[in-house]
Amino acid sequence: MKPTDINNPDFFHSVVDCQWACPAHTNVPEYIRLIAQGRYDDAYMVNRASNVFPGILGRTCDRPCEPACRRERVDGTPVAICRLKRVAADLKGDVSERLPKAPEVANGKRVACVGAGPASLTVANDLLPLGYEVVIFESSLKPGGLMRTNIPSFRLPEEVLDSEIESIVGMGAEMRYGSEITSMKQLLKEGYDALFVGSGAPRGKDLQLQGRRDGGEDRIHIGIDWLQSVAFEHTTEIGKRVLVIGVGNTAMDCCRTARRLGGKDVKIMARRPREYFKASPWELEDAEEEGIEIVVNHSPKRFVIEDGQLVAMEFEIVKWDEGATHSEVLETITIPCDDVILAIGQENAFTWIERDCGIEFGKWDMPVVDEITMESTLPGVYFGGDAAFGPKNIIWAVAHGHEAAISMHNHCQGIPVSDRPPVGMNLVSQKMGLIEWSYHNDYNPSARQQMTHVDLTKRFEDLSLEVELGFSAEQTAREVERCLNCDVEPVFRTQLCIECDACVDICPVQCLTITEDRDDEMDLRRFLTAPAVNLDEPLYISSKLAQTGRIMIKDENICVHCGLCAERCPTAAWNMEKFVLQLSYAGNSNNKGK
C-alpha cells in the first residue's frame, strides 16, 4: 500500500471530524479545551477567527460538526459542540480590544455588498481590516438578513445578533439601509472595485392549489415572509388553529412562532414520513415539546374557502412504498383551520440582475459561480451565501464570505483569483513528561448534557423570551470532558519503531495493527486487529518498518486519542502532537484574531 501522506494537511485535518465537517473549519477541539480552562475570551476568539458569529451560531447553527463527531461513533451521541460555542460567547468578557480593526489609512479600494446577511458581513469582516472601503446595501432597515428576519427571537435574542453584527459594522462599513438594488447594470456603473452579491434566497415558495386565490389570501401566509413580518412587529397575532405545510427548520420556526402569537392547535402537515424531514432532529423535538402536532403522510389537496374565508384545508392521506418514492391515496380528509403557513422552501430571485450584464446564468436560473473562488462569469462580481448555490445555512454563508473576500482582495490587488493563499499546518508535541500530557487524555464516560429550557407556561408569554437557558457551569464542565481531543493526534515516525507491539497491546479500542503489506486496502482491512465496521474512515498506513518490512496501520475510525500508544512507546515512534490547521484569509493573515 502507498503510505499515508501526512505532509498534506488534509490527512490530519480529516481526522478532526468536526473541523473537517465545518464549512468554515472552526477549530472545535481547541476552543472546547479553552472553555474547559475557563478561558472564554480565547475560546470566543478562536471561534470568531473562522466562523465570525460564535454567539449567533452557538444558538442557530445547523451543526454539520455534530453528526460527524467521533464521540458519536464511540458512545452514540456527539459532543454538544454547538451549545459549548454558546457558552464561550455568553461568558466571554470584553473582547473589543482583540477584535479586528480598520487601519487609519484606507487602501483606496471600494467594494460593495448586496444584502447585509452573514455572507456580506463576513466579506466586510475580512476586508475592512485590510483598508477597504465597504458599502453594504440592505433593502430593510436593519442588518442581519435571514438571521434577523427568519430566526425567531426566542431562539436568537436580538442583543446577541446586534452585538456581533456591530463588531463588524462598527469597523466602518458604510451601511445603506432601505436601499434595494434594482439593477445590476446600474450598480456596475457606480465604479466599485469589486462587488459581492449576498442577497440570499429571499422568495418563499408558494403552493398553487385549488382555492389559493379564492378569497382566503389574507390567512394563507408564505413562511419566511410571515416570520419577517413578525420580526419587524407588523404581525402580532394569528388564529387559534394553524396548519404549517413543510418539514424544514423554517416550518419549525413558523409553528413555534404561531404558538406564541395565539395559536393553540398548531400542526405540522407533512407529505412524507418523518425520516424524510429536512428539519434537524433537535428542532423537531423542540417543536413537539411545545405541543405542536406533527402529522405525516398528508398531501395538501386544496384550500377550502367559504364565503371568501379560509375555513379548512383538504388533504389526501397517502401510503408510501419503501423508500417513499411512490404513494397511493387512501382517503381524503378535511382539517378545519384559521391560518395556513406555507414553509415548503425558498427560491432565489435575481430579477434585478439583467441577463445581458455579463453574468451567466445556468441551471435553475442560478448564476454560474465558481465553487472555490465564488466568482461569477463576470470578473469582479462574487456571490456567496444562499445567493450562490441556493438555500444552505449561516455557517456556509460565512465560509463563502471568507473565500469571496480572498478573491475580492486578489482581484483588487491584481493577483489572479485562482491564486489561493496556502493552507498550512503545525504539529506540536504534547508530551510534558512521563505519564504527563498537556491535554486531558483520559476517556470520560459522561453522557451528553441535556439543554435546560424555560418552562412551557412562561414561554408563550413573551415572544422574545429565549427558550434555551444555555449550559450551567456544571454541565459545561462535564460536556467539555466528552471531547476526545481529536486534534491531538498520534503521529507515527516509521524509522523510530522497533516493532515491540507495545502500542498494539495497549490500545483500548484495538485500532492499531502491525502486519504484512498488501496491495489492496479491502484485503488489508481483513488483517486488522479489529476489522472496522465503518469503512468511511481512512487507514493511516506507515511505510515499511525497518526490522521486518511489515507496516503499521492505524484505523482512524475508532481511535479515542487517549495517547496510550505514545505513552507506552519506548522510542517515541508514536507521539501525540497537536494538529493546528493554518487557514488563510484575505490578505493571507493566518490565525487572525489570535
Binding site: V74, D75, G76, M432, I435, E436, W437, H440, N441, D442, Y443, P445, I498, E499, C500, D501, A502, V504, D505, I506, P508, V509, Q510, A530, V533, Q547, T548, I558, V560, C562, L564, E567, R568, C569, P570, T571
Partner: protein, 351 residues
C-alpha cells in the same frame, strides 16, 4: 488530568467469546513495566489466549516468583486466582495448589533469573513430577530490576549495555527441559504473537508440564547492539520453520497426504489448513530428533522457535501419585478426613 489508565470504551461491536466475555474482561491492571517491555506483549498474548479458549477467569490460577516477569500476572485476568511467591519458589506453590485442586488451570510466570538461578532446583523437580501447568519463562538474559547484570541465560559474547562481554556459558531452558524428560517444550518470541498464541493454547490444553521459553527483550538493559536477546537480533536469528496452529480437540478429520506434497483440509470452524509433509529433520514427538534439531540450529547461530517437543502420553503428577479424581475442595469432610478409626485401620494394614 493526565492518565495512564486503560479506559473502558463502550464501543458497540466488541467481539465476545462463548462465555459472553470480551477480550477486555481478560485484562488485569495497567502494567507498570517499562514501555516497550517484551513481557507486556506476552501478557497480551495470554489475555488473547484465554479469551479465545473461552476459559472462565475463576478457573485460572496465576502464580509467580520475583522479578519483572513475576509482576506480570497482575496484568492479566483480574478475575483469576493468584499467588506471588518467594523468589524462585513458584513451582512448589503450584505443585501444592495443583495437588489440592486439580481442576484449575495453572499458569506460572517466571523469568530467567527466577527460574534458572535461585529457583532452578524447584523448576527441575516440577518438570520431573510433570506438574500439570503452563510454565512461562520470560527470558531476557538480564536482571532488569537490578539494572542489567547478566542472568544465567546470557549468551557467551553478548555484551552489557556498557559493552562488557559475558564469558560464563548459559543455561538453555529448552535443552534443560528436554534432558529432564519434559512432556511439552516450546520456545517463542514476545514479538511474534502469531506463533506464541497457538503455542499458549496448546500448553493450556496439554496434560502435564508445559514449558514455554519466551525470548522477551529487556527494552532498558538488553536491547542494544551486542545483545543476543534484542528485538533486532531475534528478528535476524529466529528460526520458525513450522507454523503453529491450534485446533480444539474435535471429531477426527482424515486426509490422504502423498509423500512430499501438500493437501488442503477444511477444519470444523470452516477454516482451511494446508498440510505439508514434515521436514525430515523435524518430528516434535521424537525427543532425540528434537534435541538434534536444536543443537544443529544453534551451531549455525539460529534460534529455533515453535513447539519443539510434545509427549501426550506421559503420566502427570496425579497419575503418578494415583490421587483422587475430585479436587479436594469437592470432597465431603468425612471422606477427606475419615477420622481416627480409619487411620488406625490404615496403619493396621501395614503390620
Amino acid at each position: 488530568m493526565p492518565s495512564i489508565r486503560k479506559p473502558l470504551i463502550p464501543l458497540a461491536p466488541h467481539a465476545t467469546n462463548a462465555l459472553g466475555l470480551t477480550v477486555r474482561d481478560y485484562e488485569g491492571t495497567m502494567s507498570t513495566l517499562c514501555a516497550g517491555c517484551g513481557h507486556d506483549s506476552i501478557t497480551a498474548a495470554i489475555v488473547q489466549t484465554f479469551f479465545e479458549l473461552d476459559t472462565p477467569p475463576e478457573q485460572i490460577a496465576k502464580l509467580s516468583g520475583i522479578g519483572c516477569s513475576s509482576k506480570t500476572p497482575t496484568y492479566f485476568v483480574s478475575g483469576a486466582h493468584g499467588f506471588n511467591s518467594v523468589h524462585g519458589r513458584m513451582p512448589p506453590i503450584v505443585t501444592g495448589a495443583n495437588a489440592a485442586n486439580r481442576s484449575n488451570i495453572y499458569i506460572g510466570i517466571s523469568g530467567d533469573g527466577d527460574s534458572l538461578s535461585i529457583g532452578t532446583g524447584h523448576l527441575v523437580h516440577a518438570i520431573r513430577k510433570n506438574v500439570n501447568m503452563v510454565y512461562i519463562i520470560e527470558n531476557n538474559g538480564v536482571y532488569g530490576l537490578t539494572k542489567g547484570q547478566f542472568s544465567p541465560t546470557a549468551d557467551v559474547g553478548s555484551t552489557t549495555k556498557r559493552g562488557v562481554p559475558n564469558d560464563v556459558p548459559p543455561i538453555d531452558p529448552v535443552e534443560l527441559a528436554l534432558s529432564l524428560g519434559a512432556s511439552f517444550v516450546a520456545r517463542s518470541f514476545s514479538g511474534d504473537k502469531r506463533q506464541l498464541i497457538p503455542i499458549l493454547k496448546a500448553a493450556v490444553e496439554h496434560h502435564g508440564f508445559a514449558l514455554i521459553d519466551v525470548i522477551s527483550p529487556c527494552i532498558q538493559f538488553n536491547n542494544h547492539q551486542g545483545s543476543t536477546k534484542s528485538y533486532k537480533y531475534m528478528r535476524e536469528h529466529e528460526l520458525n520453520e513450522i507454523d503453529s496452529v491450534f485446533l480444539r480437540s474435535s471429531a477426527q478429520i482424515t486426509a490422504e497426504l502423498p509423500a512430499d506434497s501438500k493437501v488442503s483440509v477444511t477444519m470444523h470452524d470452516g477454516s482451511v489448513l494446508m498440510f505439508r509433509t514434515l521436514p525430515e529433520h523435524y518430528d516434535p514427538r521424537d525427543r532425540n530428533a528434537a534435541m538434534n534439531y536444536i543443537y544443529q540450529a544453534k551451531a549455525s547461530g539460529e534460534i529455533p522457535t515453535g513447539l519443539l517437543y510434545i509427549d501426550r502420553e506421559l503420566s502427570d503428577i496425579h497419575d503418578l501419585n494415583q490421587t483422587v479424581d475430585e479436587p479436594l475442595i469437592n470432597l465431603p469432610l468425612e471422606k477427606l478426613c475419615p477420622g481416627n478409626s480409619a487411620l488406625v485401620k490404615f496403619q493396621e494394614s501395614f503390620r
